[in-house]
Symmetry: C2
């Protein structure tokens, strides 16, 4: 028995779902070309156990209306986790993941996409949170302590073996075993690189944007992202302002949030190229693999980035097979949680594509940092061209919020997956009955 | 004002959602390699109006558990349709469709996929049912009576203009205007070709399958489909039995329901080719566009068919651009209803791919017949290699059930989209409170 085995005695005895929403649209935080007025929200799940004080939490991030549909989906798949021992899940984690994603009636609703897949992510991540707490380790360290075999046993390889077999995955992980301790040391001492999206939401004024750039530079940020796509004229003016503020050496990323068609994306980027963007993110529909391929060919040397809306490993696989993305933006809870993200990290390694997670929202920064840190220690093995997105809102609601120092994420030390929210937040922001909403809705 | 304009005075005043389920798993109807025990179900929506007796109905088809999630999604998007006049919708039908699929908060949950998109289909189809009833025509005839401009104005072209522009769509429809009356006459006199899936569900015994083949031939069927994918040995034995029963001239289709990986699909079909299948349907994940391309290249001259789980026009577009499907299997309520299916019919015409709709389930036969009949009259213009799937269950629950004669669909004549269920069915099969379920659940 390794130290990553769950205690046989932990049993999941309770399952609680809460609809939590924050009225972020009131200050235009999070506004972009596609999503004009998001109220950052989550369907929040708590797995209670037979051990006093030991529980796992997970969430599906949404931007407001429809959060209740995710709550309904959580209830619909709850039977896959309740009354099970934690060990019965972690002993065959791929089978557990597949029991949810291939449920013989619910699968029809996707498969492996949309609301049900968001709910699967929340539950699977809650189990990992519970497992890490039970092992007394932050998730990144738990993953890094697992053997190559144990990692491979977490992954559902269905529909990806044409790109990555279990044997290849095992071999890649084995080659990274030497140096893991050294990389862990580097991570703990130096943190992990990040970039900030908090300077360039579309709803902000020019003055706000310039001030935020100056503040960010003072705080030690070297990489910034702006939103584009509402109008070329606005984008050009804002890009010029930001580039002037941050200078030519700092990286500037652009994010179109799927607003363009393919030819339009190519045309728009021919103008925005003047501001030397490091990447263009989500230039078109996340479903358009061939379209991404055409855009990537046309806009080089500008990189193409995607992932926050890529709904499963099969989409990531194809984008990589076609050379259609240069940056892989995993999301903590769009795909089926840690397990499916392990598959995607390994695919990215196979295709030599840097992983720069999508974050922001509610608790996404808290979660993805663990995945990037594990990626550095045991899969990708590098911080070159790797950055985790950072958005500064809503961290105060978490028990173990991210810590940023001079533009880098500091490795978390508290056991778990850093997803757990404060009790007072869960009371105040529950929709529609909590006091924050009660006075708005009534 | 053409005769296809809605009455200005019709207003949608009520919105009702019902969770309707049929215990089909008890007799193994609908069993296949992926879906072993479906309880055919639907989230059923009724739009009440200010006109006595005039209402529109639509449904999202599911196979049991999770149907309640679709019901929750219907409630979440109801505000896009309630209290609107019918004319305000039909005057700019593309804008209406887009108001649902691009809702600025709910879009995040997809976009344009999964549970929310199923709910969008149900509501959009319910509006078409209402519109056709208001015009006093079956839907196929209403669509056929619309001008090329009116059809194009129903379509959201976002993310498909690289394959099909509004101008191209208009031109294709205009070239089909001559001959519409003649083709309508042919349709009314001869019906539309069909094939039956009722002979080969995986849960049936060999004896059942042989008997069902003999019965089907007696009833005039010339095209049959069998399920494959649980084991090659079983598939070979069953294929030999069916081929022996139906002879070498009748068409035999095979359906793997996504059970295989890419290399596995190619390998399995190398054996099953001996039985001369007309097509292999859903050999792998519906998300794997590049995988479909590889399979299609490898299994020719066997055709590759897909569509029932292709979640939107963007996926269909790519499958066609890549030459990855030879048969386009539209589904009435997987994509966003009639409007998105109009886009897909036009894409199929552009790429010269026959449309053979997916049907079965609950009311899918009733709905898709209208789309194929419109396709014949005004888009594709041919019945060659076109067939509508037919499954014989559950038609008795509909007010205007399909009529089959000698293996062909007879054109419906009752106004509407043929989706409306009988009042006694809605009472008996409501889940979990209706009498059919009450005695099973309690």
């Amino acid at each position: 028995m390794s130290n990553t085995n769950s205690s046989e005695s932990v049993r999941i005895t309770g399952f609680k779902v809460q609809d939590i929403r924050f009225p972020t649209s009131e200050a235009q935080h999070g506004s972009d070309a596609m999503n004009s007025s998001p109220d950052y929200s989550c369907a929040y799940v708590t797995l209670e156990t037979n051990q006093p004080g030991l529980r796992g939490t997970g969430l599906a991030f949404t931007i407001g209306r429809g959060n209740e549909i995710c709550c309904a989906a959580l209830h619909a798949i709850a039977h896959h986790v309740t009354n099970r021992t934690l060990a019965s899940i972690t002993d065959d984690f791929a089978a557990f993941s597949r029991s949810i994603t291939a449920d013989d009636q619910i699968r029809w609703l996707g498969p492996e996409k949309g609301v049900v897949h968001l709910a699967a992510a929340a539950i699977i991540n809650a189990v990992w949170d519970l497992h890490a707490k039970d092992c007394g380790m932050p998730l990144w360290r738990l993953l890094a302590s697992m053997s190559p075999d144990e990692i491979v046993n977490c992954i559902d390889f269905s529909y990806i073996t044409d790109a990555l077999t279990p044997e290849e995955a095992l071999h890649m992980l084995q080659t990274m075993e030497p140096g893991k301790k050294e990389r862990e040391q580097i991570l703990v001492e130096n943190g992990f690189p990040a970039y900030t999206t908090s300077v360039g939401w579309l709803g902000y004024t020019d003055e706000q944007v310039v001030q935020l750039c100056e503040d960010a530079i003072s705080a030690g940020w070297n990489h910034m992202k702006m939103k584009v796509g509402r109008s070329l004229e606005d984008d050009m003016r804002r890009a010029a302002l930001i580039r002037e503020s941050i200078g030519s050496d700092r990286l500037l990323m652009m994010d179109a949030n799927q607003i363009w068609g393919i030819d339009e994306a190519i045309e728009q980027m021919s103008h925005l190229a003047a501001f030397n963007p490091f990447w263009i993110e989500e230039p078109t529909s996340p479903d358009d693999i061939l379209g991404y391929g055409r855009i990537a060919d046309a806009v080089r040397p500008i990189r193409v980035a995607a992932g926050e809306h890529c709904h499963n490993r099969i989409i990531f696989k194809q984008l990589m097979q076609l050379g259609a993305i240069d940056i892989c933006q995993i999301d903590a809870c769009r795909v089926a949680g840690v397990n499916e993200n392990l598959a995607i990290l390994l695919l990215a390694r196979k295709f030599d594509i840097p992983v720069c997670p999508h974050a922001g929202g509610v608790g996404l920064c808290e979660q993805v940092q663990h995945l990037s840190m594990f990626d550095f220690i045991a899969v990708g093995g590098s911080m070159e061209n790797r950055m985790i997105e950072y958005v500064e809102h809503l961290h105060e609601h978490f028990i173990d919020p991210v810590r940023i120092e001079r533009g880098r994420y500091i490795a978390p030390s508290m056991p778990g997956f850093s997803i757990e929210m404060k009790a007072e937040t869960l009371l105040a922001y529950e929709f529609p009955g909590g006091p924050v909403w009660h006075r708005r809705v009534s």
